[in-house]
Amino acid sequence: MECDEVSRLLDAYVDGELDETTRPDVQKHLDGCPGCRMGAERIAAFSSLVRATLPLYKAPSELKAKIRASLREASAPESHWLFRIRRPLIYAAAIPVLSLVLATTLRTLAPNRNQELISQAITNHARSLMVDHLVDVSSSDRHTVGPWFNGKLDYSPPVADLAQEGYALVGGRIDMLDKRPVAAIVYRKGAQVINMFVWPVTNGKIDFDVQSDRGYHFCGWNQSGLNYLCISAATAEDIEKFEDEFRDHINL
């Protein structure tokens, strides 16, 4: 690959959004080209600057009240009809949205419970990174991490060694989720931490496709009587692959 081509792919490379076939070529070029490497570093640094610095607008307090009022009004049939006449473009604008919705999820379950678990998982994940309490047992050996949970939980969460697949085991801790203590098994993909919560399905099974919120990606599934919920700031592809690899490993 030449510098020209690489420079067009550099943002996607930094964002972890390049596909598996292109990424190694870009990586190879960067290994041998200090100029492009510097370009990648500059993109990453500027992206962090924007995230940390860009001023955000907060919704004015009156907007919430206005929205509630207009939602009530919108439920009335007359205004519904008027609205349709007055603002046909808004309706046209919704067509791509509706097709997006149709395309999104086949694997679904009560969105409420999923959303609630995801919010809790975000809080847990953020706290685990902030207060430097990522793991209670720190080891890359699954034969150390797995047995550590014995006696601390009334079930035995499976721990897989995914180092070959690019997911390094960091350790484990006990966390709270779904109103009970759960196993949190921690992996690392590059710089990104993956928290995987594992707990029995007694309060209901979870199963949903990779989704994202507030910059995090999640996936959830159940297997052999246990729920699994993963959260990370890694890319959607990384999380999807993690689920696949993990499921494969514990099926063996």
Partner: protein
Amino acid sequence: MGDERRQFDEIFVPHLDAAYNLARWIVQNDQDAQDVVQEAYIRALKGFHGFRGGNGRAWLLTIVRNAAYTWLNKHASDQKWVPYLEEKHAEIISIDQSANESRMEKRREDLHSALERLPPEFREVIILYEIEGLSYKEMALSLGVPVGTVMSRLSRARRRLREEFERAKTRRAANGM
């Protein structure tokens, strides 16, 4: 309040700030951004029975940006709509002219004015990617363009933003601030 309405409130009301921020960055003024968000929420409520879980935030933001563009298209030829008015948009940042104005404040201000100078297509991808954390794929769905377009648009947007940011810093230095 029905179950569906309660569910709607639980899922979408927490995203009000994000919705307003996106609309505000696209249409660039408070009253119009409020109107856009209001219409977007009505649209979202009407389409809510079609929402099957998944990323509620991305779903809502898609409706917001579509409503914002409808607004932009409608007002593009209006005389009253001016893409950039410094005095009109300056209220977000408390400009502290004192000597001990922090470096962070200056950066915020420079970055704000830099983003203001970009076209809406660029402002939008910066907000959706850097602030809202949508993936390229989610942005492609939201914008209704191929992933390749998202890739090049975000790349150009960042480059332009960096250039404008450098220019803003230079202007500040030239003004001895």
